[in-house]
């Protein structure tokens, strides 16, 4: 065991860059284990626990970068350190101001880009509110990607933004598209007449991708962060977004996406919608009963799932029902064959999700269909089906988000295959800017391996993929679909449809229609 620490003083890199660097280091010759990490007390504890903390690392400050590695053979430190330094320095010239200068502050950045009107902030949560406040003070609109921001800070920031006539999208807002410009995790969709405001990133992506596939584009897609419709925040930004889209001449239909809101927020939103002249599609995901479709009134149409939302928009625009909404014959036959070849006692569903809202939607669709489905967060295990949001904090400590790194999900997929109870694995694959450049290449080996494990055990494992992407996304959606299908996955574009297919395979019956009826 030769554990070495190399400390680079006063050198800061963001968490994603550091994880990528750690990954690359572990791929180097002679390196058994390696990590690059900032010298905070927390991180030093993590290093110590991993057996990677040496004396020089112990004295590092939070402003210093610790490169810690364990070599298989001694004497290779120089090569590793040189390689690391090269990687740290490469690419630093891009996205700079004049002659490549990278400003150290937002004020400095404004000197370089005086026409800037938006600050996109994704710093660690403890610093995020302060940076957002500074941005608002400078007259900038804010997209706040960071999470773990205290709720009272969110309330204060949104109040400040409203008083200044600025947008505060977030915290925990991962997606927005403004005038065709993709911000955060976003898809390449055409410009068009649908405007959206969403408290969910992956929910927003699903709807705009389904619309794009049907040839419908968007005017703007605004994010408000997951807590905007809570009682405390009370829809502050949602209302601003709805108002702006109401006034925007390019927007003909307004779509709102959120998990079920707090009572007061709901009232405010419905009031604002009914005052507006434009048609509204309001999607409170998972809502039932009196808040369901029967609550549609006048220009305001209620939906409770993402697929339904997209279908409603298309219908209001006079478009035909699109192909993605139903099973094609090939997939139908595959499902029948899978069901035929499976043992009824071994068909529970395991969901491995990167999009939290997509996981949430699948859970309520399955429960609605009578499944005993748990999220893994319950006190008591529910038994039966288990759908995990692998983007949740507990799974992403020290690892990048599953949208950009597939290792966790591949491991989980192979593990699920070894479980004789599991008959269906349900996955979402989200394409677009910011996401992994080739998810299919990452997942396919795991899908093949999983099916092999099941087969060797005399079982069949179905792998159902909700491929959420737009035809124009950088990943080449067609090719992604082909690769995944070739590996044995059953690929559809609607998450709700994928959930219903999983239900059918799990029960050995026909695939239910949206709304719970079945048709073979």
């Amino acid at each position: 065991m030769t554990v070495k620490n190399h400390v680079l003083k006063n050198m800061y890199r963001d968490s994603v860059a550091l994880m990528r660097l750690s990954q690359e280091m572990e791929g180097l010759e002679n390196v058994a284990q390696a990590t690059a990490i900032m010298g905070t007390d927390n991180n030093k504890d993590l290093l110590a626990q991993a057996g990677l903390l040496a004396d020089s690392g112990k004295s590092a400050t939070p402003n210093d970068l610790i490169v810690a590695f364990d070599l298989t053979s001694p004497g290779q430190e120089e090569a590793v350190i040189t390689s690391v330094q090269q990687r740290l320095m490469s690419g630093r010239q891009r996205t700079g101001g004049g002659a490549g200068y990278r400003p150290r502050s937002m004020e400095g950045a404004l000197q370089t880009l005086p026409q800037a009107n938006l600050a996109m902030i994704s710093v660690p949560g403890e610093h995020a509110a302060r940076e957002a406040r500074k941005a608002l003070d400078l007259g900038l609109n804010v997209l706040l990607f960071s999470d773990n921001v205290p709720l009272e800070d969110e309330v204060g920031l949104k109040q400040q933004a409203i008083s200044l006539g600025l947008f505060m999208m977030g915290p925990d807002c991962g997606t927005a598209i403004i005038n065709g410009v993709p911000l955060g995790f976003a898809n390449a969709v055409p410009s068009g007449r649908v405007g959206l405001v969403s408290a969910s990133g992956s929910g927003l992506q699903q709807v705009i991708c389904l619309l794009a596939e049907s040839g419908e584009g968007i005017s703007h897609a605004l994010g408000v962060g997951g807590r905007d419709l809570s009682g405390e925040v009370n829809g502050a930004m949602m209302l601003e977004g709805l108002r702006a889209l109401g006034e925007d001449s390019a927007t003909e239909i307004i779509v709102l996406i959120s998990k079920p809101p707090a009572q007061s927020a709901r009232a405010r939103v419905l009031e604002a919608a009914s005052q507006c002249g434009k048609p509204y599609v309001i999607s409170f995901l998972g809502e039932q009963g009196e808040h369901g479709k029967r609550a549609s009134r006048g220009n305001v149409h209620m939906e409770n799932n993402l697929e339904g939302t997209a279908l409603r928009v298309l219908k209001l625009l006079g478009k035909e029902t699109p192909g993605w909404a139903s099973l094609d014959d090939k997939n139908r036959k595959r499902i029948e064959s899978i069901i035929a070849g499976s043992d009824p006692g071994h068909r529970s569903i395991r969901g491995l999700y990167s999009g939290g809202t997509l996981c949430y939607e699948s859970l309520f669709i399955l429960r609605d269909l009578g499944h005993l489905a748990g999220s893994g967060l319950e006190q008591e295990p529910v038994g039966g089906d288990l759908l995990i949001d692998m983007g949740d904090d507990r799974y992403t400590v020290g690892r990048p988000h599953p949208m950009i790194d597939f290792r966790s999900r591949c491991e989980a997929l192979v593990q699920a295959a070894a479980d004789p109870e599991v008959g269906v694995v349900l996955l979402d694959v989200i394409l677009g800017y910011g996401a992994h450049p080739d998810p299919a290449a990452e997942l396919s080996p795991a899908i093949l391996e999983a099916q092999k494990i099941a087969r060797n055990d005399g079982r069949r494992l179905a792998c159902v993929v909700a491929l959420c992407g737009s035809p124009d996304d950088p990943q080449d959606m067609d090719q992604q679909e082909k690769t995944l299908t070739h590996a044995g996955a059953l690929v559809v574009h609607s998450n709700a449809l994928a959930a219903r297919i999983a239900s059918a395979i799990s029960r050995g019956g026909a695939v239910p229609l949206p709304g719970g009826d079945t048709r073979g």
């Binding site: 002659a99 490549g100 150290r104 502050s105």
Partner: protein, 427 residues
């Protein structure tokens, strides 16, 4: 950039208000060389048996070798001691009062020693009326500035006192004073940054003074010596630039309650800063070693820690802050490529309150030099002011061994912030 009363009241809080007022004073300072005279004549507070030194307060035992050497030289020059040993004994006896030049509205480069008989430049800020003083630059080689104190040094100082200074005085008075800011602005456009590179400014000054020199009463032989001296010293203007910067910063320091850094200085042991709201208090920490290039035969092992009042130039926004306009200095201070020099100017823009409206850099589209260091920004960004500095040999009298870039220790700013918070909360 003077704000209207309406603009002032719209400012968000009292610090912003004070900072804008201090910046106003800085930007509008109009330094003019009005006289050249013995220190005792024009600096009335300079008392009996008193010498001034560069940097924050330091007593004889703690002084670095070059500064002790310079003190010895000054004592001999004044005739308060005969030999070097006598001078050292006198200094260590405590009967010589050693004071920071800054406390007397004065600045001196490197060891920065002032004694009563030494002629000084008198620079008046015409806008506010305050005056600043600086000694006359001795030239290169074996000079008191680096701690040399042998007979040749004393002789040169006497020549300055008896020949150079009177000639300059007469010329300056005849000229009705020499405006320094236009010279500095023009010199910036010619590639000077006025700390490590002053050749254009020196030339422009010579052009301004020469017609008055030749029309003065100096004998031919003196005039030849004087002009040879001026022409032979590329750094002559350094001392004038320092006095000009000091007059601007003293004007800024006259405002109460600002977070502006009003002085940065080093005594060869410690680095000190002053903050607007905290008046004359020094916040000090050990000087850091400069990083740079060494003349052939010398290495960092020979180097004295950072020393001198010349950091007053960076306090105003010249020197390292203006490096983007001074490609020739880049190689001299080991800054790397021109791009690195540009980065220094832009980096300093992160810790300053504005850009000087009268001192600008042509190749940055005439953007003003980043000007007005804000204590808060230094602490928040962790970016410390950079200073283009000469590197002295750590042995007295051995002279300059190189040039480079030194950083102010962040510790000074942290101490200052703590003191300022305590002060403001106790109001």
């Amino acid at each position: 950039m003077i704000l209207t009363p309406k603009e002032l009241t719209e400012l968000r809080n009292t610090i912003e208000e004070a900072n804008q007022a201090a910046l106003s004073h800085m930007y509008n300072a109009d330094p003019v060389l009005i006289d050249v005279a013995p220190a005792s004549e024009v600096m009335p507070q300079l008392g009996e048996g008193m010498l001034l030194h560069a940097g924050p307060p330091v007593q004889w035992p703690a002084m670095c070798s070059p500064m002790q050497g310079a003190v010895v030289g000054a004592l001999r020059y004044q005739g308060w001691a005969g030999t070097g040993e006598e001078a050292a004994a006198l200094a260590s006896s405590g009967s010589v009062s050693l004071q920071p030049a800054h406390d007397f509205s004065a600045v001196g480069p490197m060891t920065g020693i002032f004694s009563p008989s030494m002629p000084v430049f008198v620079v008046e800020n015409r806008t506010l009326g305050n005056r600043s003083y600086c000694t006359i630059n001795e030239g290169l080689g074996k000079v008191m500035r680096f701690g040399a104190n042998d007979d040749s040094v004393i002789e040169r100082l006497r020549w300055i006192e008896k020949t150079l200074a009177p000639a300059l005085r007469e010329a300056v008075l005849r000229a009705g004073g020499v405006d320094l800011r236009p010279i500095m602005a023009q010199a910036l456009a010619m590639g000077d940054e006025m700390h490590q590179r002053n050749v254009a400014a020196t030339s422009l000054f010579f052009r301004a003074i020469a017609p008055h020199l030749v029309r003065g009463s100096s004998q031919q032989s003196s005039l030849s010596e004087v002009t040879d001296f001026l022409v032979g010293n590329d750094q002559f203007f350094l001392n004038l630039a320092m006095a000009a910067a000091k007059s601007a910063m003293d004007a800024a320091a006259s405002v109460n309650g600002s977070t502006l850094i009003t002085a940065m200085s080093r005594n060869g042991t410690n680095f000190g800063i002053r903050i607007g709201a905290l008046g004359n208090r020094w916040f000090t920490a050990p000087s850091l070693m400069p990083e740079g290039l060494y003349f052939p035969g010398f290495t960092s092992d020979n180097a004295n820690p950072d020393m001198g009042d010349s950091a007053i130039l960076e306090t105003l926004g010249l020197g390292a802050f203006a490096m983007a306009g001074s490609p020739a200095v880049v190689g001299f201070v080991g800054a790397g490529t021109y791009r690195d020099a540009l980065n220094y100017t832009q980096e300093m823009g992160e810790i300053t309150l504005g850009h000087h409206p009268h001192l600008s850099i042509p190749n940055l589209d005439y953007q003003g030099v980043p000007s007005g260091i804000d204590l808060r920004k230094v602490v928040e960004t962790g970016i410390s002011p950079a200073i283009n500095t000469g590197i002295a040999h750590k042995e007295a009298g051995a002279g300059q061994v190189g040039a480079g870039i030194a950083r102010a220790p962040l510790e000074c700013f942290h101490q200052g912030l703590e003191a300022l918070v305590n002060e403001m909360e106790s109001r």
